[in-house]
Amino acid sequence: MGEKPSAQTPDKRLIVESLDREFARLHVRSCAIVERMTDATLYVSDAGATSAGESILRCAAEIERTFGGITANLWDDPFEWTLPEHLSSKSKILEHLSEVEALRQRAFASFSDDSCLSKHVATPSETQPLVELLLRTLLRASDQQAQARARFRY
């Protein structure tokens, strides 16, 4: 009686936590794909096709752009600092994926409850509810990850 619900009461974060889990799973799957590659096979591809390593970086870039935008209003495409030349080994890619995951977790920690998801976010191209932005990011990042899986047959 008289217990005040906290801002992060679990039942008020059902959708936030559900989305959080999906992004976390995406991160785990990306790491698992990288773990199973070797430094030599990271960026090997058929002519004209994107390599598995690049697809993993693009997957992470989708997440980094969205959560960099949400947390620091930085909507730049992280392409420049995630070039294969910079991330030339498995360990460097895994380190980068961890940094992106940490950024994502920081953003999710700031979503106090599900009502946050209705708030509109101004991206460089449009203004849209946060939930839309998150689902769209999940969709596009998953697509890139699927490309990585398809390219790297293990």
Binding site: I15, S18, E22, R25, L26, D114, L117, S118, Q128, P129, V131, E132, L135, R136, L138, L139, R140, S142, D143, Q145, A146, Q147, R149, A150
Partner: protein
């Protein structure tokens, strides 16, 4: 006069190019599911009946059945009700997972028309 004719022809060709590239190709769900890589990141149109739908905070997803197969459609507006016949235009994405379940190929809706029955 000759120049006017040439300009008209050029503008006709340009218009045709714009229209042809802007229009999504109508296809069947079975074709998309059979070769998702071919349709990946491309805009397509499909027509079918809504079999299942989930909506939350104005966004959501619904499963469309066109008689040849089923595909999940992610929408940024309210989901149509089950049994509704809709024509959807959208971009194809692959590898979408939710709740540990692989939903596979997903269409991100950009436009939708509800068909009269």
């Amino acid at each position: 006069m000759h120049l006017v004719k040439r300009l008209s022809a050029a503008s006709l060709i340009l218009t045709a190019i714009v229209l042809l590239t802007a229009c999504p190709s109508q296809t069947t769900i079975s074709k998309i599911n059979a070769d998702p890589a071919r349709y990946r990141n491309k805009e397509v149109g499909v027509v079918g009946v809504v079999r299942d739908s989930y909506g939350v905070l104005g966004t959501g997803a619904y499963e469309l059945d066109d008689g040849t197969g089923r595909i999940w459609v992610a929408t940024r507006r309210g989901v149509p009700s089950r049994g509704a016949r809709v024509g959807v235009k959208g971009r194809v994405y692959t590898g979408f997972n939710w709740g540990g379940r692989n939903l596979g190929t997903v269409l991100e809706e950009s436009d939708r028309r509800t068909k009269d029955r």
